[in-house]
């Protein structure tokens, strides 16, 4: 145990030092790593490139001997596959035949009928050729490759291809090698065409196989200008006998001498075929690769909390891939040649090596405290995970070691690769990935620093100045129905899955791209596999350019060097021919002496006029013009695979046949002349195939166009032109078409309709509500009280920075007010149906005088505007209430006093409201300016009831619970006030509608009561630094301060219960509710859950880049939002992040929970409802019909299923009955 501990400590220390090293010198280490990767991959250059094309190797014929079985060490350029005997030797007899001289009374059929007929005599000759010398008599039967049955699937070729005998292929096979069948065949071309496959053929066809030259070179067609017919007789030999072959060559040359033929015949070409991968083998391979990609995807998805997710994911993949390459390279370096199919084992190697370590490293480093230096963070993260990494690696190595002892060569090799791969992967993780991670973390911290700066500069985050409203109005919208939404915000919205898929398709134009890529690939395949296509052309080019056979024969003229010699002049007898000189040493002397006769045998007979038979370089290796699948397919018919084997192609034997016209006429079939070919068949066969090709191409093109059109239509249907911007599809509320009045109030149409509360002239700073009433305070210091149900403005309390002047202003305004008080909220007025905008101002002027209450107000035009039109609904739905008229009166009166502009008052904004709370009828406002006070108003009447100016420092936060007010001040002190009222008992009444019993009844203070607010206790040094958050619930007051601590006080006796430490930054958000759940979030982006009873930390997660701006808990999860505009939802019990929602910029802090499963977030001029359980967007409600993009900065959830949010200078009241119904 102690040993283990020691080991663990040592490993941890080593990792720590290593982490420091990596983070200190990132660039040199990355350079070093790349250099080592490149070094290790260097041996890979020697490996052949992957591909299925055959490989060739040329040797001389003269000194040819069957290569030995075992691979010899280093034999120069000899390839490693060249050992052991080949599968077969292929001897082609290339026949060029023509009828000459050409007679005009010959028909087109004569061009090929009699030349083809010659194949039978040639076949006879070859079959019966016997060579006897000292070692015995050999015939073709003994040398040729004996084949058995055709492959079972090829029954239809049974009549054409030889079975049970020599593999000897010639055009004669079409007629079962029987002359009489040929003679009685009325239409040769039809017979040949009969066996052609229908449709588009891409690889070797039967015609190519039998003729041995590509179709268009055969000349067997009605349209043959050169009138030369070319075909081959292909003899497949199983063993090589030089003497027999040379005797055969000589015999044929003697029978059919080729004039002007200078074909080189001193080289044999060995062609090695790679293993072909068929579709059947491809499917499992593709499947494994798909699984591999899924694995990589799911793994890299977990990389989180870093600056560049993609960058790190790329680094992880690069790490794994280059470790694989390194392992292959190292193995090659040490002489282990990979025999396994690399493509097949590759996915399994990746799976074995895995991405886990990389992810563990990232997670560990990311979860280190943010306030540490980058170096230290990396080092700590590394050392934290060192033990588990080492343990995992040891386990894997053990498993692989066990695998090594299975003694199965393939598994052993795999294990070897895996071991080297694991080690190099470890190396790369430690050096490459760690360094990349450190760079990333550093970048992230820089970005954070830039973000954090404004927040740290001052306590309240700087709000847009008062000028903002008067700035340019939002740009005119192109049409009322287009909703433009920023793309990034759209991308991160959590849409329903089906729409996400559609949008993904639309955004990436996937369909078009796939079609394009598919078409290109298809065309490429067509071009590549076309037998007459680019491949053969290229091959021909290459073969012409490369000088063949400069190794073997030296400077000797080819036909002199190897040309077999026949003795004497008896062509019909069995020849005893000297073999090619070198392999058999016997007749060396004789071959020298008979050069003359050899030359004489091939003396040119001047051909008469007629078709010229010429022999060119391209005939030398005519098989090159065939498809590269020609030989594999021929052998595969007999179930012989050429994969990983090679065949040797011997030099061709040229045979020239000249036929006289008389012969041609003799061999005619009666039908040939009777039915002269119609003009259409005169079109050559290859032209026909060309035509079919064009037809197919045209059809394909048409089909492609049709497909594209179809998909385009589909695309248009699914995604309209402004996809991603049109909000209809994902449940965004339509707007602009509802009959809205100026309040934005519209009759409920079974949809969520926001109520617009206008009146503030500046941006709204504070919001408070107790469910019935709603108080708001703007930057100008004006406080408005609204009915939370109807949205009526009940009271306006103007900026009270100078409350002492109030009386003065009352006096001044008294006379001016006299003529303009009115009773606009009288139901009789509201219901009379006359146009409000006509009657109201008139009536107002004639209304009886009321004592004015408020006078000074900076800017009230919007108030006047909106009040006129919003009256009818207000009148209908508002129950008359005590003080109601008065409030309205005040409002009106106040409105009339527009002329005194705010500039005339002495610094009204000097005392702004920093905190506000509303309980019962009382509003508590904490102010900040040179003079500080706690003010209480009767919310309905709008009168100041009580002030307290005991404090000396600005009130940053307020809590109002029962009859206690707790005020937190900028200097870190905490004041507890008690609100007392002297009122007759009988007058005590409880407000609150029936049916809302759950809400703690708040006592209603009537205007007659005398209310006093007394400082009961002041905790002077509650915190060292300004208190930023204050929350009170369940008899506890929780404060959070910039000094990184959270304190819990008891409300009754203001006794400090706990000081909770754990954050490494100032506290920015606290949540506490009746069930004593306490959560806090700080500037370090951390969220802590605490046990209020014991003061212990329950969990601690890092969730945000930057400050945590707001926190809400439900019974199952914690919802947090940060300065990074991301809302994270955490599992409360485990601290696992469930998912996150990207918010729009500047709206991150606005969130609220309506019920257990309904989350509300603010956006640019809208609020969105989310299903908490699934993270699906339920609905988005636009707040104003004009839809200007003011962000919702604050959001308050009332307990009557309404939410209030501010955007700019307006408030919006949204009822969510339909959502609630849905939830129920």
């Amino acid at each position: 145990m102690t040993l283990r501990e020691q080991l663990r400590e040592k490993i941890s220390a080593a990792f720590y030092r290593h982490g420091l090293l990596c983070a200190s010198y990132p660039v040199p280490i990355i350079l070093f790593t790349s250099a080592s990767i490149l070094t290790c991959c260097y041996p890979l250059l020697r490996l052949p490139l992957p591909g299925t094309g055959p490989v060739e190797f040329t040797t001389g014929v003269r000194d040819y001997s069957v290569p030995s079985q075992e691979a010899q060490g280093d034999l120069g350029e000899r390839p490693d596959w060249y050992h052991g005997p080949p599968v077969a030797y292929i001897q082609q007899v290339l026949v060029k035949a023509a009828v000459s001289p050409w007679d005009n009374n010959l028909v087109m059929v004569d061009v090929f009928r009699s030349p083809l007929g010659k194949v039978f005599s040639l076949l006879e000759e070859i079959r019966n050729h016997v060579h006897s010398d000292s070692s015995g008599i050999r015939s073709l039967e003994s040398l040729c490759l004996q084949v058995t049955d055709l492959f079972p699937g090829l029954r239809r070729m049974q009549s054409v291809l030889p079975e049970h005998g020599c593999l000897l292929v010639s055009p004669g096979n079409y007629w079962q090698n029987q002359r009489d069948l040929f003679d009685s065949d009325p239409d040769l071309l039809k017979t040949i065409q009969k066996h052609e496959p229908k449709g588009l053929h891409t690889s070797a066809t039967l015609r190519d196989l039998l003729f041995g030259v590509p179709g268009k070179y055969t000349g067997v067609s009605h349209y043959n200008r050169k009138r030369v017919v070319t075909y081959t007789i292909t003899v497949v030999l199983s063993s090589y006998d030089a003497s027999f072959l040379s005797s055969l060559r000589t015999r044929l040359k003697q029978l059919h001498p080729s004039a002007n033929c200078s074909l080189r015949d001193d080289h044999m070409v060995h062609v090695h075929f790679k293993e072909e991968i068929g579709v059947a083998e491809l499917i499992p391979l593709v499947t494994t690769y798909i699984i591999l990609f899924a694995y990589i995807y799911f793994s890299t998805r977990k990389i989180d909390m870093v600056k560049s997710k993609w960058g790190l994911a790329l680094a992880a993949v690069v790490t794994v891939l280059s470790s694989l390459l390194m392992s292959v390279g190292l193995c090659t370096l040490f002489g282990l040649t990979p025999t396994l199919n690399g493509g097949e084992i590759f996915p399994y190697l990746v799976v074995v090596i895995g991405l886990e370590n990389v992810l563990v490293l990232t997670k560990s480093v990311v979860s280190t405290p943010v306030d540490l230096e980058v170096k230290l963070r990396i080092a700590q993260g590394l050392s934290n995970e060192s033990w588990s990494i080492m343990k995992n690696m040891a386990t894997e190595l053990c498993i692989i070691l066990i695998g090594y002892f299975t003694l199965v060569p393939a598994i052993q090799e795999f294990c070897l690769f895996a071991v080297v791969g694991l080690v190099s992967d470890f190396f790369l993780q430690m050096f490459f990935f760690t360094t990349v991670l450190s760079i990333d973390i550093r970048r992230m911290e820089l970005a954070d620093l830039n973000r954090r700066l404004p927040a740290e500069a001052g306590l309240p985050p700087p709000k847009p100045g008062p000028l903002r409203i008067r700035e340019a109005p939002p740009p005119p919208r192109p049409s009322p129905h287009t909703i433009t939404l920023q793309t990034p915000a759209f991308r991160n919205l959590r849409l329903p899955k089906r729409l996400r898929v559609v949008y993904f398709l639309a955004r990436t134009r996937l369909a078009q791209r796939i079609i394009m890529a598919g078409t290109v690939i298809w065309i490429g395949i067509l071009v590549y596999t076309d037998p007459a296509g680019i491949r053969t052309y290229l091959a021909a080019q290459v073969s012409e350019q490369s000088p063949l056979g400069d190794s073997g024969g030296g400077g000797l003229p080819p036909h002199l060097a190897v040309a077999p010699v026949f003795r004497g002049g008896d062509p019909t007898s069995t020849l005893s021919i000297h073999p090619a000189p070198d392999p058999t040493p016997l007749p060396e002397n004789q071959s020298q002496g008979h050069h003359g006769s050899a030359r004489g045998g091939s003396l040119p007979q001047a051909p008469p006029t007629g078709p010229q038979i010429t022999w060119g370089a391209e005939d030398e290796e005519g098989w090159r013009r065939l498809s590269f699948r020609h030989w594999p397919s021929l052998f595969s018919y007999y179930n012989i695979t050429l994969a990983k084997k090679y065949i040797s192609i011997l030099p061709v034997i040229p045979v020239t046949i000249h036929l006289s016209p008389q012969e041609a006429i003799d061999t005619r079939h009666p039908q040939d002349t009777r039915h002269p070919p119609p003009p259409i068949p005169k079109v050559s066969a290859d032209l026909q195939t060309d035509l079919t090709l064009y037809k197919v191409a045209a059809l394909g093109l048409a089909a492609g166009v049709l497909l594209v059109l179809l998909l385009f239509c589909l695309y248009r249907v699914l995604c309209p032109r402004n996809y991603g911007q049109n909000g209809v599809a994902h449940g965004r509320r339509r707007r602009g078409d509802l009959p809205c009045d100026d309040y934005g109030y519209s009759p409920p149409v079974s949809e969520i309709s926001p109520l617009l509360l206008r009146g503030h002239s500046m941006d709204i700073e504070c919001l408070a509500s107790d469910g019935m009433l709603l108080a708001s305070c703007c930057l100008a210091g004006q406080i408005r009280v609204w009915d939370a149900q109807t949205g009526d403005c009940l009271t306006v309390i103007p900026n009270s920075g100078c409350w002492e002047q109030r009386d003065l202003w009352d006096n001044i305004s008294g006379n001016t007010e006299s003529d303009c008080s009115c009773e606009p909220r009288d139901p009789s007025v509201g219901c009379d149906g006359t146009p409000e905008d006509k009657c109201c101002p008139l009536r107002r002027r004639s209304s009886p005088t009321r004592p004015p209450l408020f006078t000074d107000q900076p800017d009230l035009t919007p108030l006047i505007d909106t009040n006129f039109t919003s009256q009818p609904p207000c009148n209908l739905s508002t129950p008359p209430r005590g003080g109601f008229d008065f409030g309205g009166l005040v409002e009106r009166a106040y409105m009339e006093h527009e002329p005194p502009s705010p500039s005339t008052y002495p610094s009204p904004s000097s005392s702004s409201v920093w905190a506000m709370e509303l309980r019962g009828n009382l509003i508590a406002a904490g102010r900040s300016s040179g003079k500080l006070e706690v003010c209480l108003w009767d919310a309905v009447e709008g009168s100041l009831r009580c002030t307290n100016e005991d404090g000396v420092s600005g009130i940053t936060a307020l809590a109002f619970l029962n009859n206690r007010i707790v005020a937190a001040r900028l200097n870190g002190s905490l004041d507890f006030f008690t609100v007392e009222m002297n009122k007759p008992l009988g007058l005590l009444q409880y407000r609150g509608a029936p049916g809302r019993g759950s809400m703690p009844p708040s006592p209603c203070y009537s205007s007659e009561d005398l209310i006093s607010c007394q400082l009961t206790r002041s905790v002077q040094c509650a915190h060292q630094k300004p208190i930023t958050v204050l929350r009170a619930a369940a008899g506890r007051v929780v404060t959070g301060s910039q000094d990184h601590t959270v304190r819990v006080y008891r409300l009754e006796d203001s006794c400090c219960l706990f000081t909770l430490q754990g954050h490494s930054g100032g506290i920015t958000a606290i949540y506490i509710d009746q069930t004593m759940v306490l959560a806090s979030g700080g500037q370090d982006g951390a969220i802590c859950l605490w046990d209020v009873l014991t003061g212990s930390r329950v969990s601690h997660v890092y969730g945000h880049r930057g400050d945590v701006t707001s926190l809400v808990c439900t019974t199952s999860c914690v919802i947090s939002s940060g300065l990074d505009d991301i809302i994270c939802i955490w599992d409360r019990s485990t601290g696992i992040k469930l998912y996150s929602i990207q918010q729009e910029v500047g709206c991150g802090a606005s969130l609220g929970v309506i019920s257990e499963s309904l989350l509300v977030t603010g956006g640019q001029g809208c609020v969105s409802f989310w299903d908490l359980n699934f993270g699906d967007l339920l609905q988005t409600v636009y707040l104003s019909p004009s839809g200007d993009g003011q962000g919702v900065r604050q959001l308050l959830v009332l307990d009557n299923a309404a939410i209030v949010c501010d955007f700019g200078s307006e408030l919006s009241l949204v009822y969510v009955p339909s959502v609630l119904e849905k939830l129920d």
Binding site: G153, P496, K497, V728, D737, D837, D865, N1173, G1175
Partner: protein, 252 residues
């Protein structure tokens, strides 16, 4: 004061006028279209929601996913075996894989669905929730290893069958230990292997198909190992599906 009143008045008038222009013909049409669209989305949404929420629907959905996975794996792995001539089906296989042996993929799919649904069910009944490596990446790794085991069984040339079977057994156990490590998983895997082997024996005995070189009664001796690892793999998928109900939608 009257001047101001007039000003307000004109303001409100102009805004009224502006608003009156809104409901023109085009916008009416657009509003109708949007109404239709919203109705469609509502219907779709409710349908989706009902599918989403219902417990039975969830079960069915999981079963479908598992069935698909089973069919797919069966096709692919069968192809692997056919390629190496391990399994012989009565007739020409490549052309008639989907006609003569049509019953194999559905059987495998059904089996996969049953096993995959059984695993989480058993977990909840035994009261030991599966906590080990609950993430999709691990599941993908598990599937890859499973395919690898099949690959090895089909492609590697072993000296004798005992060695092959032992190697595969070790691999399957390693798979279980790496990705599962639960007793219920092991038990269910063993049960699956046993039952499936018995069924295969019966099928071969009745001549439905055959193996090329049977060494364990009528089948290859490595078959139970493959069934065991397959059971564990499918069980892993099933558990992840069952658990991932809340997490899977949050892939990004």
């Amino acid at each position: 004061m009257p001047r101001l009143e007039d000003h307000c008045w004109s303001c409100s008038c102009s805004s009224k006028a502006a608003e009156a222009e809104h409901p023109s013909g085009a916008s009416w049409f657009a509003s109708k279209a949007e109404e239709m669209m919203s109705i469609i989305t509502t219907v779709l949404g409710s349908a989706y929601g009902s599918l989403h929420c219902g417990r039975v629907a969830n079960l069915v959905r999981r079963g479908l996913v598992l069935f698909t996975v089973g069919v797919f794996l069966a096709l692919v792995l069968n192809l692997l075996q056919i390629q190496r001539n391990v399994t012989l089906f009565p007739e020409e296989v490549m052309t008639t894989l989907f006609s003569s042996a049509w019953w194999i993929p559905p059987c495998c799919g059904t089996g996969a669905a049953v096993v995959g649904l059984l695993y989480p069910c058993l977990d909840s009944h035994l009261g030991e929730p599966h906590k080990f490596k609950r993430e999709w990446a691990s599941v993908m790794r598990c599937i890859a290893v499973f395919v690898g085991i099949n690959h090895a069984s089909a492609k590697l040339d072993f000296d004798n069958n005992v060695q092959l079977s032992l190697t595969l057994a070790a691999l399957s156990l390693g798979l279980w230990w790496t990705f599962d490590r639960s007793r219920s998983g092991f038990g269910l895997g063993i049960t699956t292997a046993f039952l499936a082997t018995v069924i295969t024996q019966l099928l071969v005995y009745n001549g439905v198909y055959q193996y090329t070189s049977p060494d364990f009664l009528y089948v290859r001796s490595w078959l139970p190992c493959i069934f065991f690892s397959g059971g564990v793999t499918v069980g892993n998928i099933g558990r992840q599906l069952a658990m991932g109900g809340s997490e899977k939608p949050h892939m990004d």
